[in-house]
Symmetry: C2
Subunit: 247 residues, 2 copies
Amino acid sequence: MSTARAPEGYDKYAFEPFAVTVDLAVLTVREQRLHVLLVERGQEPYAGAWALPGGFVLPRESSESAARRELAEETGLSDATVAGLHLEQLRTYSEPDRDPRMRVVSVAYTALVPDDLPEPRGGGDAAQARWLPYGTHGPLAFDHDRILADARERVGAKLEYTCLATAFCPPEFTLGELREVYETVWGVELDRPNFRRKVLATPGFVQAVEGPPRLTGGRGKPAALYRAGSATALHPPLLRPEGRSST
Amino acid sequence: MSTARAPEGYDKYAFEPFAVTVDLAVLTVREQRLHVLLVERGQEPYAGAWALPGGFVLPRESSESAARRELAEETGLSDATVAGLHLEQLRTYSEPDRDPRMRVVSVAYTALVPDDLPEPRGGGDAAQARWLPYGTHGPLAFDHDRILADARERVGAKLEYTCLATAFCPPEFTLGELREVYETVWGVELDRPNFRRKVLATPGFVQAVEGPPRLTGGRGKPAALYRAGSATALHPPLLRPEGRSST
DNA sequence: CCAAAAGTGTTAACAGTACACCCATGC
DNA sequence: GCATGGGTGTACTGTTAACACTTTTGG
C-alpha cells in the first residue's frame, strides 16, 4: 500500500472493519485416491455442512503462522512436525459477500501431507474432522468448493514442473509410492520404467537411502528406499500425458 | 473461514481492525528492458521513497476490483481499457509489522501491459508516477522490494508454460517483438528461426493478421503481423535455456 | 553494395514412448 | 508355479538446437 490515503492521525475505526482468516486445503493420497481434510461446522451459518479447516488470523501473527497453527490444531500434530510440512499460499478470496456475517478476506493455503498422520480430531467449534475422498463430499460451506477446486488444479499443475510430489510421501518412500502420487492426482497411468529413469535422472529430486529395501505390501520384489532431495524445480518438466486435466 | 470462532452476535470492533490493501507490480517491456511503474510517496512513512502503486480495498469491492480501479487511476487509462489488461493475483503479504502505522494485509497483483500506454500521472498522495527500468530504483518503501522480486520471478516462470508474453505486446505485433519479450524478461538470446517455429506450431498462441506487413524500425524485411490467440496454456512449454534464472 | 531483420531448410542430438525381459517376493 | 511389483535394456519417434541460406528493406 503505497498511495495510502491514511494520514498519520487516521482513525482506524472509521470504516467497517475487515476480518482476515485463513482457509486450508489439506490434501493427501490414501488408498489410490486424493483425500481432503474437512471439518463439519457446528454453528451457523452453514451448520452441519462440511468446510475447509481454518480460522482467524490473530492480531500479531502472519497468515502463514495462522495457517500452521490451525493445521496443527486440526490434525493433532506437534508444532515441530507441522513446521516441516509443505504449506503453500494458494490465493486470497475477497468477494464482499463471501461470508454472510461480515466482510471477511481469506488467505487460502494448500497443505500436502503424507498418509501416515494420526487421525484428525474435531476441535474448537467443529463438530468433527475427517479425511474424505475428493469429490465424494457434497457442496461445501462458503466459497470453499471453489477454493478446493483451485487447490486441486494448482497441485496437478505443480507436479509437472516441481518436485512437490515428495510432500505426499513419508520421509522414506519407494519409487512406486511416488509414482502412485502422480497417477492418483493426474488420474492417469504412467509407464513404470520411464518414470523411474526420469526421476533418477533429475539431480536432487530423490536421494537413495542406504540399507535394505522395503517389502511392498507383501507382493513383489522389495523396493529401494529414497528420501526427498534438495531440488525444488524439475527441469525438464514431467508433463502429464495427453494434456488430460482429469478434473 | 470455517471454524470461525465468531458467533452471530460477535462484536466486529472487539479486535484491533485489519486494513486490506492492494499493491500492483505493473510491468512492461520498453527499449529492451523490463520496466516497472512506480510512484513517489508524498507522505510519511517513506515520504520521498519509490513504491508500488496501490491503495485500500473499499468496503464493498473485491481486491481484484480494487486493483483494476487503482491501475486505472495510476495509468490514466479508461476503465474499459484497463478491463482488458492482464491482471493476476500474485500473493498476499501479511507480516504483522510490514506497515508501521497499523496492521495492513496487502493482496499483491501483477499487471502486464504493452508499451503504448499514455504516460502515467501522479495521483492521490503520490508526488509522481514513472516508468523505471527494473533494478535501477533504490530500495522501495515497505516490503515492496520483495513483492516486486516475487512478481518478476513469477512472470519469468509463467512465460515458460503459458501464452502470457502476448500481454506485453500491443494488439498487433510481430514475432520479433514477441521474441524480444522473452529475451528481455529472461535475459537470454533465443534462436530466431526456432522461436518462430515453436510459436507458430502452438495452436492458439498467435493468429495471423491479414494485410500488409509492418516495417521493423526501418531496418530489415517487413514482418508479418499477429494477434494474441485464444490459448492460455503452452503445451509443450517453451523452456528457457540452461535453467538460468537471470534474476 | 552492405547491414539488419524476416523467413525457410537441414541435420544431429536428445528426450519421451512403448515395449520386451529378468529379478525377488508371497501364496 | 504363478501373480505381482521392482528394476534393466532397447529400439522407435518426435522435438529441440544449431546453423546455413534466401529475401526484403534502409542507407
